[in-house]
């Protein structure tokens, strides 16, 4: 073989036994390191990172089982394969303990040279395939991180581009349409900022997501500065499947944009309230209310893209839309079933 031989650390305090094992391994073509104590074994494992350690269970300082446990719990050496060896007179419970401490295999002496070689080769094969898997996983993670970065960066470019273009329009109506478009794109894009750094990328935490979006809606409306409108946000901490989260955000976007435009209370500033709460069993209710003396509008009168969007998104949520009109307040409710997302990490 032209490849460099694989290294095995042979740990045994009994010199004769250690020599015998080393001889078998040398003949099989392996490079062999030796240690006579547990602490020596740990030191060599950390420094030389041999793929396989053959570990006698009876060592003068630390027990072989403890050495194995330390090798397997130290992240730097955890991928090392450990073959525990012991003399015939060992109890079954000790063998079980050794495997429970993380040993990958167990042999009872005396061992035929062929068996020792074959088991060593099998464990080294396992080590190689595990290493290949780890490399491939690391590559995938890097790729995923890069793709995430690209997605987020591209969305940022889209938003920056739209924003810069928006300033070019002088006509107020065109400008308003453009602002609406930016706002809708923002609602969709904003979810990406908080999706992948989370423990669970299949759901989104609604409180932070909607609070951020609402703050942006107020800023974009320019109503903050002259205190014409104030937004109250009452969003329960809850995680929704990403698709539902985006749908809810888009509905909020439409309703708040509408309220900011139409809410004209007879006195004082417009107060717009955004609520997302658990409602009844397994239901969630989104409500956007304002204290504006709303004009006599029915849903058909405001049948712009906004209204169409709200209907479509409510259907996507399997929800229903209802409108509540009281003296001095106008509220739109969307009630939909709370769906749990596919679980991301299975407990194991």
């Amino acid at each position: 073989m032209s490849e460099t031989p694989e290294t095995i650390l042979n740990v045994n305090d009994n010199e004769a036994a250690r020599y015998a094992t080393t001889r078998i391994l040398h003949r099989a073509g392996f490079k062999v390191l030796e240690a006579g104590t547990g602490s020596e074994a740990l030191q060599i494992t950390r420094e030389d990172l041999p793929p396989l350690v053959i570990l006698d269970i009876n060592l003068p300082d630390v027990s072989g089982v403890e050495v194995c446990r330390r090798i397997k719990t130290d992240p730097a050496t955890a991928s090392t394969m450990v073959l525990q060896m012991s003399a015939t007179n060992i109890a079954v419970i000790d063998r079980v303990n050794a495997l429970a401490a993380g040993a990958d295999s167990f042999l009872v002496e005396p061992v035929e040279p062929e068996e020792l070689e074959a088991v060593s080769r099998a464990l080294l094969r396992l080590h190689r395939s595990e290493a290949a898997l780890r490399r491939s996983l690391a590559e995938r993670e890097l790729l995923l991180k890069e793709v995430n970065h690209r997605v987020k960066n591209s969305l940022q470019l889209v938003l920056s581009m739209l924003s810069l273009q928006g300033h070019r329009f002088k006509d107020p109506e065109t400008r308003e349409l453009f602002t609406k478009a930016i706002s809708r794109v923002t609602a969709i894009a904003a979810i990406h900022e908080r999706l992948y750094q989370d423990a669970d990328p299949l759901t989104v935490e609604m409180h932070t997501y909607l609070t951020g979006l609402c703050a942006e809606l107020v800023r974009a409306s320019g109503m903050e500065e002259n205190a014409q409108a104030s937004l109250q946000i009452d969003v329960e901490q809850m995680r929704l499947p990403t698709e539902h989260g985006v749908a809810v955000a888009l509905v909020v976007n439409e309703l708040v944009m509408n309220a900011l435009k139409h809410a004209q209370p007879t006195s004082g500033p417009a107060i717009i309230n955004v609520r997302l709460v658990r409602h009844g069993s397994g239901q969630v209710r989104l409500s956007v209310a304002d204290n504006g003396a709303t004009p006599e509008q029915t849903s058909s009168e405001v049948a712009g893209l906004g209204t169409q969007l709200i209907r479509m998104l409510a259907r996507q949520l399997n929800g229903t839309v209802s409108i509540e009109r009281n003296a001095g307040t106008y509220a739109v409710h969307v009630t939909f079933p709370l769906q749990s997302a596919v679980s991301w990490r299975q407990p194991y």
Partner: protein, 125 residues
């Protein structure tokens, strides 16, 4: 309290957008720099109150590097605005007394809120 702010961002569209937001909030943009060298050159001419710092910069250079030089030479701190704010990036930025973090794609309101907080922290009354 108008502040003078250095924008370090290699993508010109995003830099302009940030520039609009900074000026819209009543502050002054000192310069737009694309990499650590340009950031240092701009800051050596006139000291900014703080910087808006992207992490991945022109030609594979790092915003953390730019932030470190600005901080070590003149004590200029940064608000980090990036699509890549992983825990290790944040930890390194914290050592340079980060003024804030805003993820991309950003909400303009978040950028302005971060600038407001930074102004209160670093600009003397």
């Amino acid at each position: 309290m108008a502040a003078t702010i250095l924008i370090v961002e290699d993508q010109v569209l995003i830099a302009w957008h940030l520039s609009d937001l900074v000026e819209g909030a009543g502050h002054r943009v000192l310069a737009i720099a694309r990499d650590p060298a340009e950031a240092m050159e701009a800051a050596s001419r006139e000291r900014p109150d703080f910087a808006l710092m992207d992490i991945r910069l022109h030609g594979g250079t790092s915003g953390l590097e730019a932030a470190r030089m600005l901080f070590e030479c003149w004590g200029v701190r940064s608000i980090y605005i990036s699509a890549n704010l992983d825990p290790s990036t944040r930890a390194q930025a914290e050592q340079l007394q980060a003024l804030g973090f805003v993820g991309k794609p950003f909400l303009p309101a978040e950028v302005i809120a971060a600038i407001d907080r930074a102004v209160k922290t670093v600009v003397p009354l």
